[in-house]
């Protein structure tokens, strides 16, 4: 597929730039516009470069480029990192054949700009490229190509500039050069298989990708604009000689490379790229001269020595550059600044252009002869950029900058981002080289980059988000922002897939965009936001619409002087009760509007009256029952003693509403193996009493008084009990367990006490003992991939479904902690937790020593977190749409009421809406989520969340106001439920189809006409393919050979109640380079691809469930010393689960970061240290989701190609 970019190149640049800023970008990126504008400037300058490509282009841009180019670059780099990214993409384009290069830029356009750009670029170049390269898509950013030419010049010019900028730069250059050479050398070794690729794909992709990727998303257009120059330069390069191009390569290197990635090999290249990272590490430490010293040794071959040397210098230069550019930014590690830094770095590479020669030298080795010319360019570029790999070099250089500010590896990505905003030129330079590589593949850097999007969003979200504006999409989940409730629920409570709903069912059907909301009713708010107010409407209960029973909310229109109100949902008019009457002001608003939360806020709570209670009786405070498996395995693994020990302290932290008061939650204890042991811990007893119930076939609670007790009153007895439990069962030989009766026991206990509550079940093994709910081992991997696969996700017996129903009726929520050593049939055991709003935690092969921390933290959090019980949730909507489907952990006995035995602050429910009539643009679409629940203090309440979105009659509006993360949340839940009833493959196909339809619909209806070969993505959904690919590759839908059925079932259940932030990081893990750490800000993440990893770096990867610390094989000693307290890579103990506490700022900061990550997630992430080329790396690689997965999942590039193909099919 061709990503439109190419053609656009020429004309676009000139035009696009303006267009970008004006058309899509401005709207898209609030803040960007400004930066873009500047870019445009540069772009135009670049464009000059473009001219080389195409006459038409050339003229417009060319003029400006020469002159402005050099300066602009620098400036740009300073100003906008993102912009720089753009350029790289541009460069990508160049990599392709001269002709194709231009296209690449087009690719950039994909997202926002598409319409205009694509047109220009796309048609001509893209097609060619596409055809040439691979059927695959060439997502390469259009800009690069055009940029090529432009860039080249700039680069050349840049060098001087950079030098000029700072003293540092010069040194960097020299150094940089060597690095270039080193880069090539490195690439070869790692990517042995894809040597050729290495040159092209490998190096380029890595370096380019980062840039491109960052570019494409947000500022693609801009980039494209900027990009054009590089391509042009590239073009020139190819034809002429590398030397010539060389400089450009530095500019464009990375980007073009990405194109090359299109082809599968590119993925491999990443590996090659990996090596570069190695050099990067050098950077990290390297920034300073000493580093260099270290490099040599690390660097594979002698050549590498040189590289390393250069590498560091590069970094240095950047550093210095940054300072010059942004004096402010560099010092602070603010993401923005860093980005700029990289850019600056890139720039330096440009200057390094001269290094080009070395590049060529390198080229020979890596590249057979294919692209002899190109490689050199790249190399040159690389050299400048990265020490290790030519292509990467470009981007990496940026990293080096990071190095200074942040870890080296990361630099690349950040660089991209930064590039865009800061300075197009430099990036371009780096991109340029990539261009060459792009020939066969799409440049990974040219395709939309999640990192870029995330960073862009962060950049523009500086103001608190106010919810009052209907139809406004909130900042992304990855962005920190403050919310001001002005009548709609905070995005922390509700996120929608679309903030402009189609007015009609036809439109909705046509677009295929799912209409859904992810609701997290009890979400915890940051301390600076006010929790929902509690409103008491007195004995009569909350005031509601007579007809649809919607609760009083800001959408109710008061009429007749305030004596009546009209329901915003159903339009029914209802009398205002006398005690609630209030006069209206001249605008028709009640004068007390702002005194009443229910009239002015999006979220608030009502006190419920007895009418809202079960059996018309006010509820009792809830109770917690702890049910502990004491079979042989449980005792032996240490679980029993850990739980008992921990509970002693944990019981002081039961949830409470008033922190001053003791919790009113009562507790009870049960242990079990084949039989159950209840404990009487009544405060009057001297010793606890154990009551054994062996009649598991007909469970009952053997005692009433003394089972559920107040912790403070019975403290001594409880402590005595918890002390004795581990002793009592220390010698147990019982290996069989029951499970169904355990839950029944807890349920019966709550029934007997007539209260709601939560069961904490600590369980180890498949329940094979004779009892209701007995299971057999049905793990059969042969079924995977067959039509019977779905049965593996279905519960083995119907027993648990019925049990779940009973639990829900009683308000009995079940949290299950599993400690399996083998198959336990999570699919079946999880039924009750999932249906009751509980959680399943799984600690496979639990060992006290290594897993205790994770388990205990999970347990602590699980016990302490705010939770509501015995809840019923209903979503009411305006006439015209209807909530039709619900996804999450709950039970539904009818089609409208979501029943939750328990609901905690981490659980989200995804609600799908369908049209049943027309909506009007005037009124928009309203939804009100009302959840009736019992608080942890035993109070019955109604929590109301209101949400109003716009309605549109134009598809373009729909596509402009979507949220991809939420769509992915919906898709994943939809798919994960789908596999219960359909073959997994069918589910995957459905997803792909729907995604293709969404994008095709956009292309057909919203994008301006362009070549069919162009891939045009809506700005808001440009990440849809990459994220969707992650969903498709997940263990649930595409299991690897080593993924157990339990794991799949576990994940499936887990995801069903995740909110958007969790699914986002789960599907697209956060990968942070750790070469440089600053306090107060995080390093900018890099894309999840192996080629983004530098062998010399250390990275932190977080998925919300896992936390990896990846250590490159040639990570700097100083880095290792800082982190591990050892200088030797080989002395790092891969089994450690926590980092040593070292007294140095780096170690402190790193641990701070890790802690903060853990604090963000609902589950504790155990730290795994992964050493490069260690066996454990396989696991780690699994999370590099942009790469091809071991289980056969497509790489991002491949998938994008595939998606493009699908779209084209749909369009034709």
């Amino acid at each position: 597929m061709n990503v439109n970019q190419h053609t656009p190149m020429a004309s676009p640049y000139g035009q696009p730039q303006p267009g970008y800023s004006q058309p899509g970008y401005a709207p898209l990126d609030g803040g960007y516009p400004a930066p873009y504008a500047p870019y445009n400037g540069p772009a135009s300058a670049y464009q000059p470069g473009a001219p080389p490509q195409g006459p038409a282009r050339g003229p417009p841009a060319s003029g400006p480029p020469p002159v402005s180019a050099p300066q602009p670059y620098n400036q740009y780099s300073h100003s906008q990192g993102d912009m720089q990214n753009g350029p790289p993409t541009m460069t990508q384009a160049p990599p392709r054949p001269a002709a194709s290069q231009p296209y690449n830029p087009g690719a950039m356009n994909l997202s926002g700009p598409h319409p205009s750009y694509p047109q220009h670029y796309g048609p001509p170049s893209t097609i060619q490229q596409v055809t040439n390269q691979m059927t695959g898509m060439q997502i390469a950013s259009g800009p690069p190509t055009p940029a090529g030419p432009g860039y080249a010049p700039p680069h050349s010019s840049q060098p001087p500039v950079s030098t000029a900028y700072s003293a540092a730069p010069p040194p960097s250059y020299t150094q940089a050069i060597p690095p270039v050479s080193s880069a090539p050398t490195q690439p070869p070794p790692p990517s042995g298989p894809a040597t050729s690729q290495q040159y092209y794909g490998g190096p380029p992709p890595s370096s380019q990708q980062p840039f491109n990727s960052s570019l494409p998303p947000t500022s693609q257009q801009q980039f494209t604009s900027s990009a054009p120059p590089p391509p042009s330069s590239q073009q020139t390069f190819p034809p002429t000689s590398y030397s010539g191009p060389v400089p450009p390569p530095s500019q464009a290197p990375a980007p073009p490379v990405s194109q090359s990635q299109q082809s599968f090999p590119p993925t491999q290249p990443p590996f090659s790229s990996a090596p570069p990272p190695v050099s990067q590490p050098a950077f990290l430490s390297g920034p300073p001269p000493p580093v260099q010293g270290s490099f040599p040794p690390r660097a594979p071959p002698p050549s590498s020595h040189q590289y390393p040397g250069p590498m560091p210098p590069q970094q240095q230069p950047p550093l210095s550059q940054p300072s010059p550019y942004h004096s402010g930014p560099p010092p602070p590690r603010a993401q923005m600044p860093p980005t700029s830094m990289p850019q600056s770095n890139h720039l330096p590479p440009g200057p390094q252009g001269p290094p080009g020669p070395p590049g060529p030298l390198q080229q020979p080795p890596p590249q057979p002869g294919m692209q002899g010319g190109y490689p050199p360019q790249q190399n040159g570029a690389f050299g400048q950029v990265r020490g290790p790999q030519p292509g990467y070099a470009g981007p990496y250089p940026g990293q080096p900058n990071y190095g200074a500010p942040a870890p080296a590896p990361a630099p690349a990505p950040p660089a991209q981002k930064r590039l865009d905003p800061d300075a197009i030129p430099s990036p371009q330079a780096s991109d340029m080289p990539a261009v060459q590589k792009s020939r066969h593949r799409i440049d990974p850097d040219a395709i939309p980059s999640p990192i870029q999007v995330i960073e862009d969003d962060k950049a523009k979200s500086t103001e608190p988000f106010t919810t009052g504006v209907r139809g406004q999409a909130p900042p992304l989940v990855t962005t920190n922002f403050q919310v001001k409730d002005q009548g709609n629920a905070s995005p922390r409570f509700i996120r929608c897939t679309a903030y402009n709903m189609p007015c009609t069912a036809d439109m909705a059907k046509q677009s295929q965009v799912p209409l859904a909301a992810v609701i997290k009713p009890l979400a915890t708010l940051p301390p600076d936001e006010t929790p929902p107010y509690v409103v008491d409407h007195g004995e009569g209960g909350p005031i509601r619409c007579n007809r649809c029973k919607a609760y009083m909310c800001p959408y109710m229109q008061f009429i007749e002087g305030g004596r009546r109100f009209q329901c915003g949902f159903c339009s029914c008019v209802t009398e205002v009760p006398p005690h609630y009457f209030q006069h209206l002001d001249h605008t028709g608003k009640r004068v007390d509007c702002y005194d009443r939360p229910e009239l002015s806020l999006g979220s608030y709570e009502f006190l419920a009256t007895v009418d809202y209670c079960k059996n018309n009786k006010l509820p009792q405070p809830p109770a917690f029952v702890f049910l502990i498996d004491v079979s042989y395995n449980a005792v032996k693994s240490g679980m029993v003693s850990i739980v008992c020990q921990e509970l002693k302290t944990l019981l002081d932290y039961l949830p409470r509403e008033n922190p001053e008061m003791d919790s009113v939650v009562r507790v009870g204890f049960v242990t079990y193996n084949k039989v159950l042991h209840f404990y009487n811990v009544k405060s009057s007893l001297a010793q606890p009493q154990m009551l054994v119930v062996s009649d598991v076939s007909d469970m009952f609670v053997p005692l009433l008084d003394g089972f559920l007790v107040n912790v403070n009153e019975s403290r001594l007895v409880i402590e005595s009990l918890l002390d004795q439990i581990p002793e009592m069962f220390a010698d147990t030989r019982e290996t069989e367990t029951v499970f169904g009766p355990v839950i029944q026991a807890g349920l019966e206990a709550l029934k007997a006490a007539d209260c709601a509550g939560k069961l904490f079940v600590f369980h180890t093994s498949l329940p094979i003992a004779e009892a209701p709910g007995k299971l057999k081992n049905r793990e059969d991997k042969k079924l995977i991939g067959t039509d019977k696969e779905k049965s593996l996700f279905q519960p083995q017996v119907g027993f648990y479904n019925n049990l779940a129903k009973e639990c829900v009726a009683q308000g009995c929520c079940v949290d299950l902690f599993l400690f399996p050593n083998q198959y336990v049939d999570v699919a079946t055991l999880g039924v009750v937790p999932v249906s009751t709003g509980g959680s399943v935690y799984k600690y496979t092969y639990f060992q006290a020593q290594s897993d205790q921390e994770r388990f205990l933290n999970d347990l602590r959090r699980d016990i302490q977190k705010p939770v509501g019980f015995d809840a019923v949730m209903r979503v009411r909507t305006s006439t015209g749409i209807r909530a039709t489907d619900f996804y999450g952990s709950f039970f539904m006995s009818n089609t409208t009421d979501v029943e939750l035995a328990g609901l905690d602050c981490d659980k989200a429910i995804t609600v799908e809406f369908k049209h049943d009539d027309k909506l009007s643009e005037e009124t928009g679409a309203l939804m009100q989520c009302a959840m009736l629940y019992t608080s942890c203090s035993g109070q019955r309440r109604l929590r109301i969340h209101n949400m109003a979105v716009n309605c549109c009659s134009q598809l373009a509006d729909l596509y402009r106001n979507c949220e991809t993360d939420t769509i992915i949340n919906f898709f994943s839940k939809y798919a994960f439920r789908g596999i219960l009833n359909n073959p997994t493959k069918a589910v995957r196909d459905t997803l792909v189809n729907q995604c293709a339809q969404i994008l095709a619909c956009y292309r057909k209806n919203c994008a301006s006409p362009s070549s069919a070969g162009q891939l045009i993505l809506p700005e808001c959904m440009k990440l849809l393919p990459v994220y969707l690919n992650c969903v498709l590759k997940s263990d649930v839908l595409l299991p690897g050979a080593d993924v157990s059925l339990d794991d799949r079932a576990y994940l499936r259940q887990l995801i069903s109640c995740m909110d958007v932030a969790e699914t986002h990081v789960f599907f697209y893990p956060r990968l942070l380079p750790l070469m440089k750490l600053e306090s107060g800000s995080l390093p900018v993440a890099v894309r999840d691809s192996e080629e983004r990893l530098s062998k010399g770096g250390v990275y932190l990867l977080e998925t919300g469930l896992h936390l990896f610390l990846w250590v490159g094989a040639s990570a700097q000693q100083e880095l290792l010393l800082n982190i591990f307290g050892t200088q030797s890579f080989s002395q790092i103990d891969p089994s450690m689960t926590s980092l040593p506490v070292l007294d140095n700022p780096f170690s402190q900061r790193l641990r701070e970061i890790i802690d903060s990550f853990r604090a963000q997630r609902s589950r504790y992430m155990k730290l795994m240290v992964v050493k490069q080329e260690d066996r454990a790396e396989l696991i780690f690689r699994h999370f590099l989701v942009e790469d091809k997965s071991a289980s056969g999942g497509a790489s991002y590039v491949d998938f994008l190609c595939h998606m493009h193909k699908e779209i084209r099919q749909l369009l034709s």
């Binding site: 404990y679 010793q687 606890p688 009493q689 154990m690 009551l691 119930v693 053997p702 008084d705 004795q724």
Partner: protein, 740 residues
């Protein structure tokens, strides 16, 4: 020759046997004409302080289907060292150990005075006694406290090596583990679920996976003991158990208004039986059930938990309105039978003001030889002392209780055994001496009596099968041998053998003799037992009619009015209770039950027994009535006034004080020995409790026979019952009419 009176007394003293006839009619025909069957009351473990047990095993007849024990009636050839069985005439050589016998050196069992002899058998390991307390916790606080104290006290009465267990129940059933330190453990069973013995044992963790190599070998009691945490030697768990009992709480489940507490007696018993079954089969054990109300849930439920539904009365039963009766009875019978098979007995101590379901549960004790004690509250001396008396000891310091008794009856050819009535179950041992004609529990010559005490008495009924045309030779004697094997309370296994013989008499020629050999008292009790036995299984009126057609004597008048046959004015539980005791007490006690004893105390002489008649109720008398179940002291009108006036406090009326004291002392004497403790009532003329007396006496004066009014000869009884006089008149008429 001694009189029959003396002969009978002597026989009773020596052998614990009283026959209805002491000369037996020699043919079936004659025997049936006598109406009262040849039968006897047999007290297997009659206390014989003068009878030291012998330390060897009995010598048995070698004939497989005879196995009679060598006895004084056997013919012995001292030279050939051969003895002839007097039942089957088999000639048996003496065992080698008897080589030294001769006319002058005879073993004890050959001496006539040892017609009853006891052997100690050294077979198998001694098994400790087992006491399993099954305690209802649905009691009033006060009751529970009293019960707990009684139970704690009982621990001190048990021999140290006895095993004890504790099951408590209310809504749930808890089996307490006694061997644990720290946390008190118990196994809990739902009170509503009927569980099989196997399930119970599994749930209690008593079934061990068959160890390799041990398969097929039954688990020895020792193994079971080691593995059974629920039954532990008293000396080891004394403290634990005392604490446990001390901490015992009332059933915590709330009892809503208008409801009865949920009491799972059925399941509790089932668990108790299952527990013992699994751990100590065929070992002497007592399950002691303490209940404070009727079972209200689960199997064996007697009444629902709705208070508005009263517990069944005789009226309900007759109208077939007792919903749970049949089911519950069946359930408890099944339990009783299981328990009996394993030799475990079940006591019921029921203390409540209302009925507790004894009617349904009576078989538990009746079939296993257990006690039934009925009282108003556990906090009464009636219960406390009765319970204490369960553990009373004999002159050797051993418990007056024995376990796992098997009574076998062997008869000479002319006799066959029809059945037995008493606290026993049939062992279904069909032999040549078993009659087809069943009376009581028949069809067998062996019965199991799970628990025995020295007063346990069975009625055993025989049939003369000798045909009229095959007369027994002159001087022939019929013989009966009772062989009782049992586990003594000191854990020894013992065998007591009683061999008796009676002369045959030709009814035609020796009718006078036969007549004079009639033991009226024994016959009365025996007939009464038959009557009670029938009453248990048949409709009341039918039984009375049957009885009326049978032997009619004075006793029968009272019997007809007794609670054993009359259910009027008695709850089903009371009837069951009375009958239970009636069929197990010895002759003397039985007679008291049939015709209460009335003593009169006055200034006119020493205390004298008086007629149980309303005419005996005089103002200046103090009456002491012993009905076995009640002990009533009744002060006549005048005496009562004097007492009220306080004359007894005055020195000059010392004699009055003594008069008042005399019946008290006598009552005390009775109380000392009676088991169960009778209800002790001290009342006076016009007192509400006087009804106990008035209901018993012969209503010779009622409001109907006006002529008696105004006379100072007694107190009129307000009743429509016929008086003895009327009864007798009627009787005489019937006796002579041929239509009877």
């Amino acid at each position: 020759m001694a009189t029959y009176q003396e002969f009978i007394q002597q026989n009773e003293d020596r052998d614990g046997v009283r026959f209805s006839w002491n000369l037996w009619p020699s043919s079936r025909l004659e025997a049936t004409r006598l109406v009262a069957p040849v039968s006897c009351l047999f007290t297997p473990l009659k206390e014989r302080p003068d009878l030291p047990p012998v330390q060897y095993e009995p010598v048995l007849c070698s004939r497989a289907n005879c196995k009679a024990v060598l006895n004084p009636l056997c013919q012995v050839d001292f030279r050939a060292k051969i003895w002839a069985c007097n039942f089957c005439f088999q000639r048996n050589p003496f065992p080698p150990s008897y080589a030294g016998i001769s006319e002058v050196n005879q073993p004890a069992e050959l001496m006539p005075q040892f017609s009853t002899i006891e052997y100690i058998v050294q077979r198998g390991p001694p098994t400790p006694l087992i006491f399993l307390y099954v305690v209802d916790t649905c009691l009033e606080e006060e009751d529970l406290q009293a019960l707990k104290e009684s139970l704690q006290m009982s621990l001190s009465l048990l021999p140290p090596n006895a095993l004890v267990g504790l099951i408590t129940f209310g809504r749930m059933v808890q089996v307490h583990e006694l061997s644990c330190e720290g946390i008190a453990k118990s196994y809990v069973f739902r009170g509503t679920k009927d569980l099989s013995s196997k399930q119970i044992q599994e749930m209690l963790g008593l079934t061990k996976p068959a160890a390799p190599g041990q398969q097929g070998r039954p688990v020895a009691p020792q193994d079971a003991a080691a593995s059974c945490r629920f039954l532990q030697p008293v000396h080891r768990v004394d403290m634990n158990l005392t604490d446990l009992l001390g901490e015992l709480q009332r059933d915590p489940w709330p009892v809503p208004q208008g409801k009865r507490p949920l009491r799972s007696t059925g399941v509790a018993l089932s668990v108790a039986v299952g527990l013992l079954e699994g751990t100590f089969p065929n070992t002497g054990a007592r399950v002691m059930l303490f209940i404070g109300g009727p079972p209200t849930q689960g199997p064996g439920m007697v009444v629902g938990d709705e208070l508005k539904t009263p517990i069944r009365s005789w009226h309900d039963i007759q109208k077939d309105n007792a919903r749970h009766l049949k089911k519950a009875t069946k359930y408890y019978e099944a339990l009783a039978n299981r328990s009996a098979v394993n030799g475990h007995s079940i006591d019921i101590y029921a203390c409540a003001l209302d009925q507790t379901g004894l009617l349904e549960m009576k078989c538990l004790s009746n079939l296993t030889g257990g006690h039934i004690v009925m009282g108003d509250s556990f906090n009464t001396s009636l219960f406390k002392q009765t319970f204490q008396r369960v553990f009373s000891k004999d002159y050797n310091g051993d418990f007056r209780m024995a376990f796992g008794g098997v009574l076998e009856v062997k008869t000479s050819r002319e006799l066959k055994v029809c059945g037995a009535i008493g606290p026993c179950v049939s062992l279904h041992s069909k032999g040549s001496s078993v009659s087809e004609n069943e009376m009581g529990i028949g069809g067998t010559s062996q019965w199991k009596v799970c628990s025995l005490n020295p007063s346990t008495t069975l009625g055993i009924y025989f049939e003369v099968v000798n045909q009229h045309n095959a007369p027994v030779p002159q001087g022939g004697r019929g013989a009966i041998q009772f062989v009782t094997q049992y586990q003594h309370s000191n854990t020894q296994r013992r065998i007591r053998v009683t061999t008796i013989a009676r002369n045959w008499a030709d009814a035609q020629s020796q009718i006078q003799h036969i007549e004079s050999s009639f033991d009226q008292e024994a016959a009365a009790v025996l007939m009464a037992r038959l009557g009670v036995f029938r009453a248990e299984s048949e409709e009341g009126p039918d039984v009375l009619r049957w009885l009326d057609r049978q032997l009619i004597r004075l006793f029968m008048f009272h019997l007809r009015r007794s609670p054993f046959l009359q259910v009027f004015n008695n709850s089903p539980d009371e009837s069951s209770y009375y009958r239970h005791h009636f069929v197990r007490q010895d002759l003397t006690q039985s007679l008291i039950m049939i015709q209460p004893i009335l003593y009169s105390y006055s200034f006119y002489g020493p205390p004298e027994p008086v007629l149980l008649d309303s005419s005996s109720i005089l103002p200046d008398r103090i009456l002491l009535m012993d009905t076995f179940f009640q002990l009533v002291i009744y002060h006549g009108e005048t005496i009562a006034q004097w007492r009220k006036a306080g004359y007894q406090e005055m020195a000059e009326y010392e004699n009055f004080k003594q008069l008042l004291q005399a019946p008290l002392d006598d009552a005390q004497e009775i109380l000392q020995t009676r088991f169960p403790m009778p209800r002790y009532i001290d009342t006076e003329h016009g007192g509400s409790q006087a009804r106990f007396l008035l209901s018993k006496v012969n209503p010779s004066q009622t409001h109907n026979n006006l002529y008696a009014w105004g006379q100072e000869t007694g107190a009129p009884i307000l009743t429509d019952d016929v008086s003895l006089q009327v009864f007798m008149d009627h009787l005489k008429k019937l006796a002579v009419s041929s239509s009877a």
